[in-house]
């Protein structure tokens, strides 16, 4: 529900599934002055509350040689919430974790590809990466606690055919690392949603029973009967929507939807048509990232 304006600090080098996207490309970064101008403009033009809120994304922000200047630009522009989209590796250093906190960073979007090294490290292509990144998150949270600073960490899991089975473990790991929100973002058009949905449901349950909210992006309501509150649209966009679950849906224009008044049990028997998965992904992309 809390929106962030995405500001690209560069391109490449982020945590992505190497089997879907190939080997990671080295990051390239934009000039600090240019980014600072965009930050300033985004804050000045912010038209909703609460905010303004800025997300530095596009490439690992700790790789930007002038990150402190970018953070300073955000605070100078009266940014209320500053979020870094990070792999958290740099946060293992107390200097980085403490420095970013003291400078004003309060939110992290932390990307993981799975809940076990066997999945995350294998898909990322770097042994030891998962443990190191968990260490970074814990370091950030520990210093924030010592300094009595309120922080929010969202674990983002890009869901693809290679990690869907590991979603419950990913949720468990994120809970254990201390996040307060988990975002399952379906980004693989070739993902067999029908087989992935039980894993998503299990991940949602893993979060909830541990007091951590799990949100699902890229899946229509009708595909997650009984779990519709977890669908991002429910949280962000539906103004007082009621049953039937798909009364107002991002897919309305192309999908006839579930039968009006259908029960959750009836909805569960619907077999998702092949186009639904592809469509869900394109809708998700069209909507853009919303931290």
């Amino acid at each position: 529900m809390i929106r962030f304006a995405d500001i690209l600090v560069g391109n490449g080098g982020q945590v992505r599934c190497s089997r879907c996207h190939g080997e990671p490309q080295p990051a390239s970064y934009r000039p600090a002055e240019e980014i600072a101008r965009e930050i300033s403009m985004a804050c000045a033009l912010w038209d909703g509350m609460p905010g303004p809120n800025i997300l530095l994304t596009g490439a690992e922000p700790f790789g930007h040689p002038e990150l402190p200047a970018l953070v300073a630009a955000a605070t100078d522009a009266h940014c209320r919430r500053l979020c870094l989209d990070t792999d958290a590796l740099a946060l293992r250093s107390p200097q980085n974790a403490g420095g970013s906190l003291m400078a004003g960073v309060r939110h992290l979007r932390w990307t993981i590809l799975g809940g076990t090294p066997g999945v995350h490290d294998a898909l990322y292509g770097e042994p030891g990466a998962l443990d190191a990144s968990v260490e970074g998150i814990r370091s950030f949270a520990s210093i924030a606690s010592d300094e009595a600073l309120s922080i929010s960490v969202t674990a983002v899991v890009p869901v693809c055919r290679h990690n869907a089975h590991d979603l419950p473990a990913a949720a468990g790991l994120a809970v254990d690392a201390g996040v307060d929100r988990i975002l399952l973002h379906v980004e693989d058009g070739g993902l067999d949603l029908a087989s992935a949905l039980p894993w998503m449901s299990a991940a949602c349950d893993t979060g909830v029973v541990n007091g951590v909210w799990v949100e699902v992006e890229g899946v229509p309501f009708c595909l997650l009967p009984g779990y519709d509150l977890h669908v991002a649209d429910a949280v962000r966009e539906r103004p007082g929507a009621k049953t039937p679950l798909c009364a107002t849906c991002a897919l309305d224009r192309v999908c006839a939807g579930a039968p009006a008044g259908a029960s959750a049990d009836q909805l569960a028997t619907l077999s998702p048509p092949p186009f639904a998965a592809r469509l869900a992904v394109s809708v998700s992309r069209a909507r853009g990232v919303d931290a």
């Binding site: 529900m1 809390i2 609460p50 919430r81 309060r106 939110h107 969202t154 007091g211 951590v212 103004p239």
Partner: protein, 422 residues
């Protein structure tokens, strides 16, 4: 030979850092009662809810009480019952007397469920408790005291209700009598009893039916005493609506003014936000108000109607905006699980308060409290709730068990994200 005084231990289990105002009133009144002078010795144990009940019992038993009087709320009830069981086992001759919003409205039910409890004081307790002590100290008959429920010859018996105190100034001030010592941040003042609203889920009005106020002179004396107490820089008011009337608000602000000039501030006072315009916000500011707490609790039409809650979105938004402009932090409260609401109504409420950027958002789950309309009408409204305190709602016709838990977690996550700011 002089008879040893009745030893009366008064116990409250409070949120950490707070002291029980209720016990303060009870003790201040009882100590002022000439019938009890020299016949009853009082000792107050103001402990925190996080103290283990066995150690609470240790402290109580160390006083070797003849009477144990406990103030019970839904939050401390489970611990209180455990303490009472232990105390009754070790010291069966001790009379255990309970009072407070958790037990008064359900007195017979509580006595039936807790054999260790002897007497329950119903409703406003000051006069009733003093009368009861007078009977106990004199070896008299407790059943002659109005306003209690007790066991008599194996039966649970309720004596007639007691009339409300006509003039609140007849109740000595816990602060001015020295019974309560103000502590920074934890001191509360009460300027009136009753509530102008009739929200179906709330027991704030305690069934008083009408509003009775302490005199302006008494209020002024308490403000001056607490605000000037050593080490006190913040305190609060327990009144359900601080801005009850414009005239009253200005009176309180004028009384606070010299203390505000010294840096004293009021925190977390409850206001009727829809009656706050820029002028009222300025008066609140001049009263030293740093933060307020308010609704809307819900914005769902069905729940508002079921709970008799007035809600005008435009005035609410204007009220929050006026406070923001004046620099007063506002906590907007929401309740999940109200009858008439479903999960999406709750989400709409979250979106509404979030868009106001009030400063703090607090969501809680409905508690179906004894004495409230929802307690009485739970079956009719289809409310499933835990009969054991704190009486949390389990499921409603609009939102099932699993979605209730989801809504709680979602709201908690949102509060964390909202709070995390520069």
């Amino acid at each position: 030979m002089a008879t040893a005084p009745l030893r009366c231990a008064m116990l409250a289990l409070n949120s950490p850092g707070y002291r029980s105002l209720a016990l303060g009133y009870l003790r201040a009144y009882a100590q002022s009662d000439r019938r009890l002078a020299g016949r009853v010795a009082f000792e107050t144990l103001d402990l925190d809810t996080d103290v283990d009940p066995w150690w609470v019992a240790w402290r109580v038993l160390g006083l070797e009480p003849d009477v144990l009087a406990v103030s019970v709320t839904c939050w401390n009830a489970r611990a209180v019952y455990e303490v009472c069981r232990i105390v009754a086992s070790v010291r069966p001759e001790c009379a255990i007397v309970l009072g407070g919003p958790e037990v008064g409205p359900a007195a017979a039910e509580v006595l039936a469920a807790h054999s260790e409890v002897g007497v329950i004081v119903r409703g406003e307790g000051e006069l009733t408790f003093a009368d009861l002590l007078a009977e106990l100290a004199g070896g008299g008959k407790a059943w002659r005291v109005d306003g209690i429920t007790l066991r008599r010859s194996g039966e649970i018996v309720a004596t007639p209700d007691r009339a409300l105190v006509a003039n609140l100034d007849d109740l000595p001030s816990p602060y001015l009598t020295g019974v309560l010592t103000p502590v920074d941040g934890g001191a509360y003042l009460e300027t009136y009893r009753g509530c102008p609203h009739r929200c179906a889920y709330c027991f704030e009005g305690k069934g008083y039916g009408r509003i009775r106020s302490f005199s302006d002179e008494r209020i002024a004396a308490e403000i001056d005493f607490v605000a000037a107490a050593p080490g006190v820089s913040t305190f609060s008011f327990i009144d359900p609506v601080f801005n009850l009337t414009g005239e009253r608000l200005r009176m309180l602000a004028a009384r606070m003014a010299p203390h505000v000039a010294r840096g004293v501030r009021l925190h977390t006072i409850e206001v009727d936000i829809e009656r706050i315009d820029p002028e009222a916000a300025a008066v609140l500011r001049s009263a030293g108000v740093a933060s307020v707490e308010t609704g809307p609790q819900t914005i769902g039409a069905g729940a508002l109607e079921a709970c008799h809650r007035p809600f005008n979105a435009e005035r609410f938004v204007a009220g929050v905006a006026a406070l923001r402009q004046t620099g007063i932090s506002c906590e907007c409260d929401l309740i999940v699980g109200l009858p008439g609401d479903d999960a999406y109504d709750f989400l709409a409420g979250l979106r509404f308060v979030l868009a106001l950027d009030p400063g703090k958002i607090q969501s809680s789950t409905l508690h179906v409290l004894p004495g409230t309309e929802l307690w009485e009408r739970a079956a009719e409204l289809g409310l499933e709730f835990d009969r054991e305190p704190p009486h949390e709602v389990i499921a409603t016709p609009g939102i099932g068990f699993r979605d209730l838990r989801r809504a709680e977690v979602l709201a908690s996550s949102l509060q964390t994200a909202y709070r995390a700011r520069i």
